[in-house]
Symmetry: C2
């Protein structure tokens, strides 16, 4: 029982979901957790700010060690609980290299996704341009095609024959683009990856409850 861990999280947030998946993969259940609402601004509450002064979720702590950056938390958990649950960092140098490469490359993917999905939230009305929206969408589409190609080459998982930290970190972003209406027919490898991992216990157990209860958006349907 991971009673010495605390996770404050928001439903549907890829960074929060990553940490939840990693905890499941490492058999670290029973941690203290609290679901907070972005809509109600609870990510700016004192409870969050005490752990994460950036006022973002996740806010995560193991003992007194703070790991709010979701990728940092995932790598740390694997390092500290290496022999527990599923091994997430491959020993094979070739797979390990690919795993780290895809993990860090995914931050570019996430950034490009955010530039499209959060555009009106991030850019004040007076600074918005149709040309920027169009360019951001084209950039995201090109990025998704790269990942489509990666999966074409790698098969079931992103870095080798086993589920790894790269999958823990990238899967929530891929699920997110489908939640926002990405066309499964146009990105068949991404869709196959998305659908095949839905039933993996660590992912199924942590699937965002809000996604089960509400309809997604169709923002990316023409991408």
């Amino acid at each position: 029982m991971a009673k010495d861990m605390t996770l404050l999280w928001g439903s549907g947030s890829p960074p929060c979901w990553r940490v939840q998946i990693a905890l499941e993969e490492k058999n670290l259940q029973g941690y203290n957790q609290k679901l907070l609402s972005f809509e109600k601004g609870e990510h700016k509450s004192k409870e969050v700010m005490d752990i994460n002064p950036r006022g973002q979720l996740p806010a995560f702590k193991h003992k007194t060690y703070v790991l709010n950056e979701s990728c940092a938390a995932c790598i740390y958990l694997e390092s500290q609980f290496k022999s527990q649950g599923n091994q997430l960092i491959p020993d094979c140098p070739a797979e390990q290299a690919l795993m780290y490469q895809r993990t860090f490359e995914s931050l570019t993917f996430t950034q490009k996704m955010a530039d499209v999905i959060y555009y009106t939230w991030k850019v004040p009305e007076a600074e918005r341009h149709d040309s920027a929206v169009k360019r951001n969408r084209e950039t995201l589409s090109a990025e998704l095609k790269l990942w489509e190609g990666y999966l074409q080459a790698s098969g079931s998982f992103l870095a080798g024959k086993n589920f790894s930290l790269a999958d823990v970190i990238v899967y929530p972003s891929i699920a997110y683009v489908f939640r926002f209406g990405l066309c499964e027919e146009r990105y068949p490898k991404l869709a196959a990856y998305y659908n095949s991992l839905k039933s993996r216990p660590s992912i199924k157990t942590t699937w965002p409850r809000t996604w089960l209860e509400t309809q997604g958006s169709d923002m990316l349907k023409d991408l």
Copy 2:
């Protein structure tokens, strides 16, 4: 001799510099390397694209394993050459947690730095706004104050009593903001950190040659 490694790099680029520092720290000298020019567009050359299809530098390879993401390359090198050169990932869980947290947090810092320094390069003229420039600068200033506070708390290094991967990854970005004119008096802890590590062998040896030969910018002097 690291003859099974190849690094294509550009002078003054923080991501390239990180990999160079990591290689020095791990005593991996003698690798194949080639200095390319961003100005001449050599980062889009076939030689680079063959290793890094994103057309970015660094392009880095160990044997046949490609690690173009600079942070991925640094973590991989530490993992594969753990007992060689300086240990960059602390064993102590508290220091390790802080090291990973700062390492990934630095990607936010780098992004905010890029939003200011590359604004006119990234944003087409018709989409530029003084309000965006002002906001980006304020955001970067707030970010730098966070790091000033981190150094106030941690002392000589970013994550504990020894130089670590967090320093390898963050130092080039901190040097970059000073290269762009950040005021040493206004950010005394960052300045002390910047100056004290200049003489560290891994950093001194890899100091961007272009920086020794040309004047920096004063873009950030009022930040």
